[in-house]
């Protein structure tokens, strides 16, 4: 695997995410208007549009630079709490990709991301925040790769399922962090917007990874050996 193909995979994943956030802008804002300040969709959209432009404009980057650029751009452009939470965590975890993108570095990235996120937001599982989606996703991904020996794309698919259950888990909770916490019991019965956008992002990382796997498989269809690097496109920013 060449470095530039890692970076290419990362850029493709960012494009996927930006398109999805654009399509879901109103949905996210609706969720946020129920228990927050109704800006989550607009904020993330602004951030990911800027991030796509930035990473597309990079001159021969490696994967770490692509991921770091996404983080820095989100911090600058998103505003609100989602800026430091998403952007700050991505920025700080991006160092895990110093040696390129593979199963091991993607697990390290995921764990570093979760740790920074919990630290920055001072939130734990059950607080009705994005941590409720990220935590099961990261733990599932790590276990699937390290214990169950699944290829990264299959592990990411499991992580997406775990995040989806995490999002559902936020509905009955009473928020104890963020703007929703001011609502007290009125926050119960609403799905957390941050957990939802996290799930959307993971779904798009998976879609990008699957596309890449398919493409690699086609290219190598005539080859007698099955490439072992193809699933690794998945994990640049999970």
């Amino acid at each position: 695997m060449t470095t530039s193909s890692d970076a290419e995979a990362a850029v493709a994943a960012v494009e996927h995410v930006a398109d999805r956030i654009e399509a879901e802008k109103s949905h996210l804002t609706d969720l946020d208007s129920a228990i927050g300040d109704a800006d989550h969709g607009a904020n993330l959209h602004r951030g990911f549009q800027a991030a796509v432009e930035k990473v597309q404009g990079l001159d021969d980057p490696d994967v770490q630079e692509v991921v770091k650029t996404v983080g820095v751009t989100l911090v600058s452009e998103v505003g609100g709490a989602a800026g430091p939470l998403y952007g700050g965590s991505i920025m700080s975890a991006s160092t895990e990709f110093a040696d390129g993108l593979d199963a091991e570095t993607s697990v390290a990235f995921a764990e570093a991301y979760l740790e920074k996120l919990q630290d920055r937001g001072d939130a734990r599982v059950g607080d009705k925040t994005m941590v409720d989606a990220v935590t099961p996703a990261v733990h599932t991904y790590k276990k699937s790769v390290e214990q169950d020996d699944l290829p990264p794309v299959a592990a990411l698919a499991k992580a997406v399922d775990a995040a989806r259950r995490g999002v559902e888990f936020t509905v009955p909770l009473r928020a104890s962090k963020g703007r929703a916490s001011y609502l007290g019991w009125r926050s119960v019965g609403h799905q957390d917007p941050g957990a939802t956008s996290t799930l959307m992002i993971l779904e798009e990382l998976l879609a990008a990874a699957e596309e890449r796997t398919d493409a690699d498989t086609e290219v190598d269809a005539a080859s007698p050996t099955i490439p072992d690097e193809d699933p690794e496109a998945a994990e640049e920013a999970d």
Binding site: D37, R46, V75, G79, A81, G83, L85, G88, R120
Partner: protein, 126 residues
């Protein structure tokens, strides 16, 4: 001299708090307001806070914040700041008032200004 940076979700609110505190703290205290998201709407943004911090004359700054994301964005700005900056855990208006009085005191220090701001947590209104 210790400066104060007031970070609110609303640029107007930050300005208003600054105006009230300036009256109390006298003309000597440097009090800078910053607020609004990158589009100029309600919110807070790291670059705006960084810019405000950089533009201050004071080498030591106490930041007063309103709601959650103001705290997070201020924390990120502090991490890259080239001056000594602390965030006060205080109600933003009352904290800024208290801090302005202490900041105008020639003997005020970064710690004493932050402590003054945080004393406002215990002030009862009724």
């Amino acid at each position: 001299m210790v400066g104060l940076l007031v970070v609110s979700h609303s640029a107007d609110a930050a300005q208003g708090i600054r105006d009230i505190a300036a009256e109390m703290g006298g003309a000597d205290a440097e009090i800078v307001p910053v607020g609004g998201d990158p589009d100029g709407g309600i919110g807070t943004s790291v670059p705006a806070i960084q810019e405000a911090l950089d533009g201050m004359n004071s080498d030591e700054v106490v930041i007063l914040v309103d709601l959650g994301s103001a705290v997070m964005n201020a924390e990120m700005a502090v991490e890259t700041a080239e001056k000594e900056v602390v965030i006060a855990d205080a109600p933003v208006l009352e904290g800024t008032l208290n801090a302005a009085v202490e900041a105008a005191n020639p003997k005020g220090t970064l710690e004493s200004v932050r402590d003054s701001a945080e004393e406002a947590r215990d002030v009862s209104k009724l």
